[in-house]
Symmetry: C2
Subunit: 126 residues, 2 copies
DNA sequence: ACCGCATATGCGAATAGATGCATATGCAGC
DNA sequence: GCTGCATATGCATCTATTCGCATATGCGGT
């Protein structure tokens, strides 16, 4: 694996896993750091970290260090293939793959972070 | 690999290869047999056969024997995820992944079959 | 320099997918 | 039953991806 540009097949490779789909869906509303994703997806740090690495190799996400956090965002949020595919998924299976639930949880988690961990909350809103 | 129903992730697995994308694009306009696909995609029989097998395992296509031919069609042409994704691909990259060229070649090939190999032409139009 | 938190990497095993080459199978006509 | 055409399968090899477990690295505060 290498790759950095977002190619057609790379997009679909990224889409081949529900957890990655959920991550993309979350990131489309703005950047998040690993700790957010771990909590929202109710997964563990190593797993999420590796998914993000893979997604980065595929050219789908970018990362940026902010203090001790690593903020991830979509590499090209305007890519029409990505946008349309996510929208299509949302339309067809929004609830069944937990897209909607994740978005609701995202709000809850970021709100709590705002209170309990202001520095981290700052990192993703910069 | 097993699977037969068309699940979300299976769809994307099918989409992870340009040749498979081209096959789906061709089948969306109606059934074809292996010999058509081999010619339109300018590939070889074993390769196409294996792609079709994989696509069948993913639940994306169905086959039917007609005399010595094997006719393949989309397992669920009305599946919205499939339809929308193909349309989206068509819109975004129609020429670059040869979707359009393939469709044009499809017409040429089926027309010629009609003349030179009527039995086979009959098989896919039944 | 040390500690704790956030994140990443390494490794070994397991599974999945791709590829090239050879060969088998199914069907129709003779 | 033999032949030819259309299609499928088997096998060995290779690369890609996944998973669990352990451990390393980067950063900020003391």
């Amino acid at each position: 694996m290498h790759m950095q540009r977002m190619e057609i097949v790379q997009v679909y490779k990224c889409f081949c896993d529900v957890q990655r789909l959920r991550i993309l869906n979350l990131l489309k509303d703005g950047p998040l750091c690993v700790c957010h994703l771990v909590e929202i997806l109710d997964s563990d740090q190593v797993k999420i970290s590796k998914q993000l690495r893979y997604m980065k190799e595929l050219g789908m996400v970018e990362d940026e260090r902010v203090a001790q956090w690593k903020v991830y965002r979509l590499a090209d949020a305007t890519n029409p293939l990505l946008q349309k595919n996510l929208k299509c998924l949302q339309d067809c299976y929004g609830e069944s793959i937990e897209f909607n639930k994740d978005i609701r949880k995202r709000s809850a988690v970021t709100a709590r972070m705002q209170r309990e961990n202001a520095a981290c909350a700052q990192a993703i809103s910069a």
